[in-house]
Subunit: 411 residues, 2 copies
């Protein structure tokens, strides 16, 4: 008998019929003798409806009040799911974020979980009940309702699993696991039986939408055994995110390929090459709350230097405007940019022990005339910035080059 | 400068536009220098939507979970109204029932308020904020979300006014005050400037839907100054519910007329006339959770007696079935009934000091050939049970007979 935390997303609970199906699936897990804690999102479409209502009232809704409104979505689902379970004879009780004391900081609409009180849940499990908890929400240190940001229900599930020391945290979603890349782009993409935590973290941060990155970070921090499964089809094993790197098993050189269109490149040319210039430019961007991703600095001519960096596409024009105003202060020759770019990344634990992975990647792209604009690397990933129109092609080319379509156990 | 509690019902906050209008009205009250605590209902239609969802899942939804689902309706409105106020420059903060500790008993879906903690609200008022509280909901002694039953937001408002010792509790609704009777039935019906608490209590309990009866009881218990106003048209004074009977002012003999179609008559004929027989019959009905309203007992022939009483129309058949099963036990000759009946009542404080009010009422009904089936009286009201088809006619006849259409100040 194990303690399992199951998380069902908005699509999985998107209708009365689907809520009833989720109840049946939970009942099956109960019937296998397991204790179950369930985390649910709002019914699909509900959060968007609430956001739209708020924006009709206020152009920039007050974050505290936004959370009051948004948190209702999950609250409806927990009550309905508890009813659906009781209806098929499974004892169940629902809790909002504040009721199980999911304590967060006060950063409304993007709060971070600080602690969870497991007393109530433990008592209910002891009494043989399924415990249902509203995902995405908590209570701030001021006693206000807080929410964790889009996709926050994944984080709620992992945090609950950590607090309860659950044996496994199962994330049910509309895909049946983690794929080598998006199957909509590469039909040959394979579902992985396992993926290491480090690889998953890179994939999540590089644009893979299967798991929210904070939930993966949380799982890593508290060593939560995490599994991604399909809520639509039954019987699959999904993908298990593992911590142990099996020494006997040769690591896959490349495990997965991620891509991300939410990119724009900014160029700052001909600034005086003196200490502090990078801070002067990037500090101003950071102060405007704009996330900088890839950064490159090149030595230019006659004591000047060139900067390039990427920002989310929505921040492209604001960043250009901001630097335009700074142009004289920093003494730049030219501010320019390009918002028709994308980032394609290969991720794999095996890269650590293999040389030549980067050159293999660059050669494959060059063979198809795909020009690389920027490169960024870490121990287990290589990202390139390329023209947006080559995104699908580059992904397919790399998927083939690293033989990700071959059915083999991480060989 | 006064402290005013304002309550806006579902119709008043039924759309984004209406929520913005409510915000403007609150801003006006603030601009007059008053402190304002606002209680709101769910947007009209929302509670019905949630109830329907729950019933799709479970034929008889679990009351605890029903409250979890239902309480979201008001939670959405408080957040949106706070945004609307901030949007026009009025500082405001919203609170759910549990946040201001509206403590209730554990009778889910029909909980009763036990206490309210005013500390948070007082601090916000001190800081110059408008405080917005979700009506209809509270937190049970088990820490669960509870709701007060339909119309419970009126009760929330009055309870908050009592806890805060507010100068006035204003109930904004889709009518502009309390009328002598329903204007849809009697076009000559007049809005009353004032009505006494006792009269309002009778009218509410007799079928007038302007105020929920529990809110009136609460107002009476805690001496809350209560006013009914229109949320749709501005500038009216509405109707003030007073506690002081002005000694210098002659009481109206009849202040208002209420009617109620939710009635069915049950007859139990020829039961042995012995002590305890009333309890045997009515106790069984009460045990089935059926409310008995009017009761009549007549001496019959040869040591037998006849009972008649009224129940809500939805309980008509269950009551007949119940007594049918008991017929032999209680030794009744016949169980029969009629569910095409209604109750028409006249209410007025002046009745206490005037004789002949009842005979005047009966004469007026007789003149129009309206047969009276049952009569029930209290110090300040007389109710008659009549054939349902005469309801509107009887109301009009009595409205005219007691000169309620005359514009006069309670003369």
């Amino acid at each position: 008998m194990a303690l399992i935390v199951q998380k069902y997303g908005g699509t999985s609970v998107g209708s009365v019929e689907r809520i009833k199906n989720v109840a049946k699936r939970i009942a099956k897990t109960r019937a296998q003798g397991h204790d179950v804690v369930v985390v649910v999102s709002a019914m699909s479409g509900e959060t968007n409806r609430l956001v739209a209502l708020a924006h009709e009232i206020q152009a920039y809704p007050d974050p505290r009040e936004m959370d009051v409104v948004l948190a209702t979505g999950e609250q409806v689902t927990i009550g309905l799911l508890a009813m659906a379970l009781q209806n098929i004879g499974v004892a169940a009780k629902s809790y909002t974020g504040w009721q199980v004391a999911v304590k967060t900081d006060c950063a409304h609409t993007k709060a971070r979980i600080e602690s969870i009180d497991d007393a109530k849940m433990r008592a209910d499990l002891q009494d043989g009940r399924v415990v249902i908890v509203a995902g995405f929400q908590g209570i701030s240190s001021h006693g206000d309702i807080s929410t964790l940001g889009r996709g926050g229900s994944d984080t709620s599930a992992v945090a609950l699993a950590a607090a309860l020391k659950a044996d496994e945290c199962q994330i049910y979603t509309d895909v049946d696991g983690v794929y080598t890349t998006d199957p909509r782009v590469v039909p040959e993409a394979r579902r992985m039986d396992t993926i290491t935590f480090d690889e998953m973290l890179e994939l999540a941060s590089l644009g893979s939408k299967v798991l929210q990155i904070r939930s993966v970070e949380f799982a890593g921090k508290y060593k939560v055994r995490l599994r991604v499964l399909s809520s639509l089809q039954e019987g699959g094993e999904g993908t298990l995110i593992t911590f142990e790197e099996d020494e006997n098993m040769e690591q896959a050189i490349v495990s997965g390929i991620a891509f991300d269109k939410n990119q724009a490149r900014i160029n700052v040319r001909g600034v005086p090459d003196k200490p502090g210039i990078a801070y002067q430019i990037l500090g101003a961007v950071a102060d405007a709350n704009i996330d900088v991703d890839m950064i490159i600095q090149n030595v230019g001519n006659e004591g000047t230097t060139d900067f390039s960096f990427t920002v989310p596409r929505g921040d492209y024009q604001p960043t250009l405007d901001l630097l335009g105003n700074l142009k004289n202060t920093i003494g730049a020759d030219e501010i320019s940019g390009d918002d028709n770019v994308c980032k394609v990344s290969i991720v794999g634990l095996g890269m650590r022990s293999h040389v030549g992975v980067a050159s293999k990647m660059f050669r494959a792209l060059a063979a198809d005339n795909i020009n690389i604009q920027m490169i960024s690397t870490s121990e287990i990933k290589i990202s390139v910035l390329i023209d947006e129109k080559y995104m699908e092609l580059a992904t397919r080319v790399l998927h083939k080059e690293f033989e990700l379509d071959q059915t083999k156990e991480r060989a």
